[in-house]
Symmetry: C2
Subunit: 349 residues, 2 copies
């Protein structure tokens, strides 16, 4: 893209500048922000079309579309930031449908006064996540609201992918006898956010697990095993995701507490803050409901992938007219694992 009347405009002061209302007004300042910040990081042929939307190549198969608003606070946390999170979160929502994620859109709501240096860092992180995942950000939008009418930056990403004709993964396909697989430890993302917010000074900082899961999912699908459903246990944590599946499929689930991996520092932080890791958000973990006969095949494929090295069989699907999720505890008892009812962790993603 060429600059708008190059001679007239000073380059954006990314180091010391701040977002102001003109950056959202549709005029020269907005074009400058788009070119010198967004397009510089996201550079790709579709964005370079410079139209109101992106014109993309034909794609075979059925479309999958998913969207997520991101309002995480703080914007920067150990292991990531709102930028990469907004790319990973939507890629994962597309990928758990069995689809190959192809394109992303990104829409920014900026608060007047937000430092351009922070915006630049966030957008660079998005661009990196997008490139690593091989899923370009092909179109976008920027709005600016007055100081005090937002909280720094909110980012909504929407993803489009394609799923082959013969593959349907859905939360209503779990059947009694199926097994529940989990790709790794739970609670890392949520507790990374909470530890930052609460200024908890553990010896080892808790690091968010934010990651794009489509590579792991592709490896699992390549086994041709009977995978009924995949889901990433984000807001509401593992407990809520398992309850969603139980309800959609009209089944119960029996989890085994001892089989669910929780990192030591996450367990400690949860205890300190009175939180249950089952309800804490993850941003790089996967739950798979799989036919029992294929459990070993899928587990092996997961463990052979870096993102699934700690994959575990954590429970089984059972017949239950109440669609309860229960858990056998360390002491040999059982407890009901209900939906998240209150608001354990606001603004976690």
């Amino acid at each position: 893209m060429t600059k708008v009347r190059e001679g007239y405009v000073r380059p954006l002061d990314i180091k010391n500048g701040r977002v102001d209302l003109t950056h959202g007004s549709g005029g020269r300042a907005m074009v400058q922000l788009i070119e010198e910040l967004f397009a510089r990081h996201f550079a790709n042929e579709w964005l370079a079309q410079g139209n109101d939307g992106a014109l993309l190549p034909p794609a075979g198969g059925r479309l999958v579309m998913a969207t997520d608003a991101h309002v995480v606070s703080p914007l920067f946390f150990p292991g990531g930031d709102i930028g990469c999170l907004s790319v990973h979160g939507t890629i994962n929502d597309v990928a758990v449908m069995g689809a190959t994620p192809l394109w992303l859109s990104a829409s920014f709501i900026l608060e007047e006064g937000f430092p351009l240096a922070d915006l630049d860092r966030i957008v660079a992180s998005m661009a990196r996540a997008s490139k690593e995942a091989g899923v370009p950000i092909v179109t976008g939008d920027t709005k600016v609201v007055e100081a005090g009418k937002a909280d720094g930056v909110f980012i909504t990403t929407t993803g489009v992918g394609m799923v082959p004709e013969d593959l349907t993964l859905s939360g209503d396909r779990a059947r009694p006898g199926d097994v529940v697989l989990l790709s790794g430890s739970i609670g890392d993302h949520g507790m990374a956010i909470m530890a930052t917010r609460e200024n908890l000074g553990f010896a080892a900082p808790i690091v968010s697990d934010t990651a794009a899961l489509h590579g792991l999912i592709a490896a699992m699908l390549a086994t041709d095993a009977e995978i009924r459903c995949l889901r990433d246990p984000t807001r509401g944590g593992l407990a809520t995701t398992i309850n969603e599946i139980a309800r959609q499929s009209g089944v119960g689930v029996m989890l085994d507490e001892a089989a669910i991996p929780v990192n030591g520092e996450v367990a400690a932080a949860c205890e300190f803050l009175g939180l249950d890791p089952l309800y804490v958000a993850n941003e790089g973990k996967l739950v798979a409901i799989v036919a029992a006969a294929d459990a070993d095949t899928v587990l092996a494929a997961m463990r052979a992938h870096p993102q699934g090295s700690r994959a575990a069989l954590i429970g089984e699907v059972v017949a239950d007219d109440h669609h309860f999720v229960q858990m056998t505890t360390g002491l040999g008892g059982r407890r009901i694992v209900d939906w998240l009812t209150g608001d354990q962790l606001p603004r976690i993603c």
Copy 2:
């Protein structure tokens, strides 16, 4: 969809209730908000899948993807509200690419304490706009931020559509000799917002032109005329849109002030507030760059459609190495019509 543990939960108090943080937490309250408010209004087979994304049928042709965040203030205004605006705006961004809009996603950022009755009214308006346009909202997301960290509700919509192989409309296709067509009066949306904000009491209220334009566009494309480019002059108004096209195509444009329709009350409000209607946002108008030989054909098609009844030929594309947009004024003079530089109208869409 069935209710979450029906016995446990009281129905949402849509009349007197307010959004709280639990509505965004991923748990039971969020499911209830989705079912009793969003899904009730948006009801369609794709949303009913209840997964993290929507699985859509295969679609022929090339994909078009467009996204827009909506932060308009006030949320309700004569002629519309943030709900229908968020549907129209994104449908239009897809349609001006020559694509048939097929699906929308909707992502909500809600401020804690926002009245559920207002949310219900907004979502009902989105649903109505979506149904009228024949473009379903197939997937969505809801986040809630603390009181004071947003401004009521922000809505990001993303649209996907399909464009036939042999059609390419793009801002870089304008050529000297082409004509500039405009579908109707300018400034109505922006001045409806401003008049509401400023409490201007005109005899006749100014009504936003917010509307989905894909029907008008389909009628224009059906003529098989040589249409180079379509664009909806939203933020920054007609002046900015024409400048964008001039720049993308590397041409100049000569507009004829007398040919540009402006409603009397809009002109009066602009004069009162010291605004130039050329820079005021529209949400239901269209600019078309068309080969001169086809001007009459396209104009006739526009005028035969209710949304183009006042369509006019407002200028022509000229060779100009500076890519200036100029306008012949009522007095026979000429002036340069520059990009919007300051921030004339924040939060207009």
